[in-house]
Subunit: 194 residues, 2 copies
């Protein structure tokens, strides 16, 4: 059965972006996002296709649909219309911005995270659904529709920025599925226990 | 040469204790500390002496001195006077509470974290210094006197409590020294790069 998987690069102190991230300042101040994603790219900026990083990139691109938060998609202009050809579902109560009219594979879902996830799972078929964004992850946890977490934990303390996990009303137990140990990142995959 | 090593069990969302931790409520609300340290104990509450957990306990107990924050030591009443026979140094601007008069191996240091660390290193000789506590870790980072971090990352999202890393003015690069992968915890040891 297909799973919904949160994919995020995170510093040891829990940050996924710098301070003040918004569409006019993608990734926030101070190059935090570049630092957090360095493990997945060559020095010239291409996606790494070899070793553990290459396998993780292949797995991400083999997912069948994306559920991503509005803050995320607006900072990357909806990946110009799809994520490696995959449809993108954005839970949001507000209508989308004008660029979305040009993106037939981008769907704004106004009736909540569970609906967005159901639509994404239907689109993904037997492939996994990639989940992205801190706020969206939190809502997916609360609604019980997040199956796994793939954290790329980066050996850096950023000290400030946007946190992936910023408080939650419930305790959630996880199960370690797999750890990939490289100098650039500790890649830990968890299953969410419910 | 001996190193100063921060040893902490931390949830994936960055917590090391529950909300409202204080001497009258050790570890805070909700049993967070018990959950975070379960990896190191048997079901009857003894320290685990076998496997990776046993090796980590041995390494911790083989350190030669402890630098621990006042919040931590007051919640465990200074481990009744020593930490497995090791002297304990507590950086604090306020005079110690009355129980400390009975603890010859506990020293309150009023002139800052660097001084506390220097005294602990002198006491430890060629053994490592164990560092404990969130506030103390932060001060040790800022003063440049923390050499390594041993994080026991626990597969749980606690949602609330006291964070190990709660904002810092500087970015700090780390180097992954060693990862020990068990179902109960992902034990990651980092060197602090300066």
């Amino acid at each position: 059965m297909s799973s919904s998987v949160l994919y995020m690069s995170m510093s040891l102190d829990g940050y996924i972006a710098g301070p003040n991230d918004n569409p006019n300042n993608p990734g926030g101040d101070g190059g935090a996002v570049e630092r957090l994603h360095r493990w997945g790219f060559t020095e010239t900026g291409d996606v790494l296709r070899s070793g553990p990083a290459g396998e993780l990139a292949d797995a991400m691109e083999a997912t069948g649909a994306v559920v991503a938060g509005r803050r995320t998609v607006e900072q990357v202009d909806h990946w110009k219309g799809s994520h490696h050809g995959m449809p993108v579902f954005v839970p949001s109560h507000r209508p989308p911005g004008p660029s979305v009219a040009n993106y037939p594979l981008v769907t704004y879902v106004s009736d909540g995270i569970a609906s967005a996830m159901a639509q994404a799972k239907a689109a993904a078929g037997d492939r996994d659904v990639m989940v992205h964004g801190a706020y969206t992850a939190q809502r997916a946890f609360e609604a019980g529709v997040l199956d796994e977490i793939q954290i790329h934990q980066i050996p850096v303390l950023l000290g400030a920025g946007r946190r992936l996990f910023d408080g939650s009303p419930t305790r959630i137990e996880l199960e370690v599925v797999r750890v990939i140990d490289t100098p650039e990142a500790t890649h830990i995959r968890y299953r969410v226990l419910r």
